[in-house]
Each structure stands twice: as C-alpha cells, then as structure tokens.
Amino acid sequence: MTQPLIQMKNIEKHFGSVIALAGVSVDIHAGECHCLLGDNGAGKSTFIKTLSGVHKPTRGEILFEGRDMHFADPRDAIAAGIATVHQHLAMIPLMSVSRNFFMGNEPTRKIGPFSFFDHDLANRVTMQEMEKMGIVLRGPDQAVGTLSGGERQTVAIARAVHFGARVLILDEPTSALGVRQTANVLATIDTVRKQGVAVVFITHNVRHAMAVGDRFTVLNRGRTYGTAKRGEITPEELQDMMAGGQELATLESSLGSTV
C-alpha cells in the first residue's frame, strides 16, 4: 500500500467542557473514497473541520504527504488543496452564483499596479462547471438564494471539485437531496475519485456509503470505532457498527431489512 496522502493521528478536540473528539485516527489515500460514518454527535463534522482548518485540534497530529501540517484557518487548508463542502451549506444566498463559486479564490487580473476581480473569467468558468454538473443557470449573476436546495448543493460540490485538487471532503452532501440529485452526487464522487482525488464522504445512509466507498471508518462518541475495507463487510454489519454496535434486530423484524 502506498503512503497515505493524509494521516490524522489521535485527534482530540475539546469545546470548553464538551469533549467532541477523544482521539480519532484516520488515513486518507489518493484516488480512494473514504466514508466516515457514525451516530449523531459522534464527532464526524468536528473531525473533518479539524482537517479543513476550521478548528485547531486540541491534541494530535495531521500529516500531509508525511509532513506535519498546521492549518491556522480554512485558507491554509484550501491552499494545501483540501476542498470542503460543509454540512450546513457554505453558500451565501444574497450573492450571485459566480461570486459564490469563487468566494475565497477570486481570480484576479492586473491592470497597472492594481489587481481586479476577473468577472469575465469567473462567469465563464462558473457556467461551464455548472453545465458539467447538469445544471443550466439563467445566468452567472443569478443569486444563489433563487436556486433550489439541490441546485445549491451542486454548486457547492462543483466549486469544491473545481478547486479541490487533492482532497475533497463532503459532509452529508446527500441528506436533503432527492433520488436523482443523489445519484448525481454519487456519480460525481465516482468520477472525482477515478481522477486520483482523495474523497472523504460522510453519510448516515449505508447504501450511499456502500455504493461509492472504498473504506469505511465508523466513529462513536468521539472515538474511532473501527475501519473496514470494501468487500470485507456487509451492509448489515456496517449498519450495526454505525448504530454504536447495538443490534437493531427488533426493529429489523418489524419493519424489514436495513434502513
């Protein structure tokens, strides 16, 4: 096995009196989709936020291609090639799609000593990228607020794909999406992975995870509960792990199969 792109070792994160992460270790490889699973409040979002520079871990280390990394803020993580689609959308409804698309990564053009936001480029790229994802915008200056939830999610993913050269993190991207949109997102993950990008995919849906995941790490109450490879585990086993090891047998029998 090659050297992992990112190694996160024994990450801990405390918020005041709340211990959100009590030691989580995960390796992320290029060209692989790593699924992060676990109960509500298990610490998945907190964990990926330490990776994307939003939170500084209280303890533990992050190695990027074997070298120690310290992100002071999300800009650093983005600069290092880590693109994130957060659970609670990182879109600004009042701004246009193209301004949102390039938020924090604005293309500039120099005119004399001054550098200006290159609107033409931004608009062109935005239209192209959105078209690739199968969404035809009225225009690049349409406000994000006028898009449907699924469309917004798609903008966020398209943006992350466009900029996220090395690692793409998706925090429950499919939870509010319809079947068709979900299929779309899963297909995108598949494409991106095949291009050699490392994908971290958080979901509560076993089927979505099984559909695209190469490896599965389950968190439980702020700790790593276990990691499994594709093919080594059945959906039912995975589901039991996600529920914190509790067998959901009684539910199964009355309501049928895996939820």
Binding site: D73, R75, I78, M91, R99, M103, N105, F117, G134
Partner: protein, 372 residues
C-alpha cells in the same frame, strides 16, 4: 458511470424580460428616488434659486458631506456591521486636529496625519472588540459613541478651557496637507465663467464682481473620490467579494477561506477614515472644532445608505446606491428650505421618505435575490 442527466429550465417560472432584468439592480431605488426628487423640486422650487449655480453648489456640498460618511457606512453595512460612533468620531477627530495643530502648535500636516492614525486605530479597536467578543456592533459602537463624545468635551475643556477651538485656518495657512481638505479647485475656470456671464456674479458686498461660485470645494472632490474608490473596491476586486461574503454569512465565508475578521476590522477602519476626512474638511472650512460637531451623523449615514438600497443585516447593497441616497437626502433637506416649507417639518418629511425608500428597496431586492 452515469452520464449526468440534462436538467432543463424550469417551466414553472415565468421568464423575466431582459429589459426588466437590466433595470432591476440594487441602485434602482436610488435612481428612481433621485429622479423623483429632482422632478418634484423642479416643479415646486424652480424659481427659488435652487437650480442656479449657487443653489446647485448649495445642495451639492450638503450631499457631498453625507456621501463621505455614507460610503464608509455602506461598505461596513455590506460587511454585516454598523457603526453608531461615526458622529462622535467626527467630533473627536476635529477636536484632536485642533488640539494638535493649535494648542500644541504642531505643523498642521503632522496634526492631520496623527489624527488619522489615531482615529483609524479607534476604528480598528471597535472592529477588534466586535469580532473578538461576537457582540453586536450596535452595542459596541454605542459604547464608543458615548466614550468618544465624552472625551471630545472633556479634553478641550481641560486643556484649553473652552469647548470650541478656533484659529485652525490660520494655523493651516500654506500647509500642503490642509489644502487637500479645505481648499477649492477650478477657481480659474469659475472666474472665466463668471466673466463670460455663464454664472452670476456678486452684485453687492465685499466681493462684487466675483463669480458667485468660485471653485469646487475639496469636500466634493473627496466625496466623489471616495464613491469611485468604494464602488471599484466593492464590485471589481477580490476584497469586494469578501466584503459581500463576510456580510452575507460570516460563518460560511470563513469556511470558504475568506478572512472575515480582517475584512470586518478593515471596514471599521475605513469608516473611521471617512469620518476623519469629514472632520478634516469641516475643520479646515470653518476654522474651528467644536465639541458638538457631528451629532446624529451616524443616523444620517445609515439613512443615506438604507435609502440607497443596502440591507441593514449585511451582504447586499451598492456604493452608487448609497451615494444616490446621500444625494436624495441632501437635495430634500436643502430643497425644503428653498421651497419654503416650515423647517421643523423637515424631520417629518425625512421619516416619510425613509419609509417609502426602504419599502421600495425591499421590493426590488426580493426580485433580485429571490428572498422569501
């Protein structure tokens, strides 16, 4: 792998005509308002002297004043904060210039530069407290409204035994930096216009024969300059995008790599800068600094910005709109005097115009942003 299904335009939305789309912009309210105001006063106050050269200069100067502080307030408001200490800052800045330049006798350019540095630092402090504690800027800047005004009264009283410090014009005589705030430009051109009979000349008094308007005050130059800089900054630069983002949703912007705290603090500093420019122009023109200068200017700035279509909660607005808001505000204020309306009713008009303007702007904004 799936080929991504082609999503077509939603048939459930009526198309908006291109004409309508071109018109629907944040400044629209301001543009409509400006036209309305000029038409109104053109009809009711045309022969009152409001539109001769002197009259035009009259409301232009008042509007320019509003513009200077409105530009700062506008950018800050778009960045999601606002500043109630603008008025006190104006008083404070003027007083510090007077204390440095007159009482302490420093060269005026030093006094001005030190005052700018001081006031911008106070702006930064405001911003720092806001981003650090997460308190609403309303409260933090309200505290500074009181603190700065207190010092503006206390300092000269203690140092000079008076609350108006005069003699600034004399102290600033021949100073290169002071001339940037106090003078006029285009004197030659206006003299020529006066001689050519294009504009009226004084008929009586000490300056008989001179043109009634003898140049464009630096105040107006500053106002226009700030509007242009503010507009370009907001719409054409990367930083402008950050301003929108910081005001639209600070958390989302931060997660996307926008240095939100830096943006907000910078905007507080810029607002303080605008207030200090205002104070410098005022002090140089009137030659004195008083403890009561700038009272209620924070509201006037906010009103101009809001009339200009910005959203009080941040993330939306335009500098051109704010400038038009300032123009409307200035023209209405002076126009009512020209039209001979009972002057205590001015406030009533102001309130009513404010209400109408925001209702119009809300309607326009909903169309643009699809807000619900």
């Amino acid at each position: 792998m799936a080929d991504t299904p082609q999503i077509v335009m939603d048939e459930r939305v009526k198309q908006i005509s291109p004409m309508r789309r071109a018109m629907i912009r944040p400044e629209l309210g301001g543009i409509v308002g400006t036209i309305a105001v000029f038409v109104f006063f053109g009809l009711f106050a045309f022969d009152s002297g409001m539109f001769n050269s002197q009259g035009i200069m009259n409301w232009s100067v008042v509007s320019a004043q509003f513009m200077i502080i409105a530009v700062g307030a506008c950018l800050l408001m778009i960045a999601g904060e606002f500043d109630l200490s603008v008025g006190s800052m104006i008083g404070f800045a003027g007083m510090m210039m007077a204390i440095f330049g007159v009482t302490l006798g420093w060269p005026m350019w030093v006094a001005i530069l030190v005052t700018f540095a001081l006031c911008i630092s106070i702006g930064a402090l405001n911003g720092f407290i806001v981003v650090r504690t997460g308190l609403p800027s309303f409260i933090v800047t309200l505290a500074f409204l009181f603190i700065l005004r207190g010092f503006t009264i206390f300092l000269p009283q203690t140092i000079e035994r008076k609350t108006i410090i005069g003699g600034i014009r004399e102290a600033a005589e021949g100073d290169w930096l002071a001339a940037l705030f106090g003078g006029t430009i285009g004197k030659g051109f206006f003299t020529w216009m006066g001689e050519a009979g294009i504009i009226a000349t004084f008929e009586r008094g000490t300056r008989a024969g001179e043109p009634v308007v003898n140049g464009i005050p630096m105040l107006i130059v500053w106002a226009l300059g700030l509007v242009v800089v503010g507009h370009v900054l907001l719409t054409r630069t990367r930083f402008g995008n950050w301003i929108f983002a910081a005001g639209g949703d600070a958390e989302a912007a931060r997660n996307s790599g926008v240095p939100v705290n830096r943006v907000k603090i910078t905007m507080f500093m810029f607002t303080a800068f605008c207030a200090t420019v205002f104070a410098a122009c005022q002090v140089m023109e009137f030659g004195s600094a008083g403890a009561d200068r700038g009272l209620l200017k924070e509201f006037e700035a906010i009103i101009a910005v809001v009339i200009g279509g910005a959203l009080l909660t941040g993330g939306y607005g335009s500098v051109i709109g704010a400038a038009l808001g300032a123009l409307i505000f200035g023209v209405v204020q002076q126009g009512l005097f020209f039209a001979g309306v009972e002057s205590s009713l001015f406030r009533v008009f102001l309130g009513v115009i404010l209400l109408f303007a925001v209702i119009l702007n809300t309607y326009i904004r909903r169309i643009i942003t699809g807000e619900r």
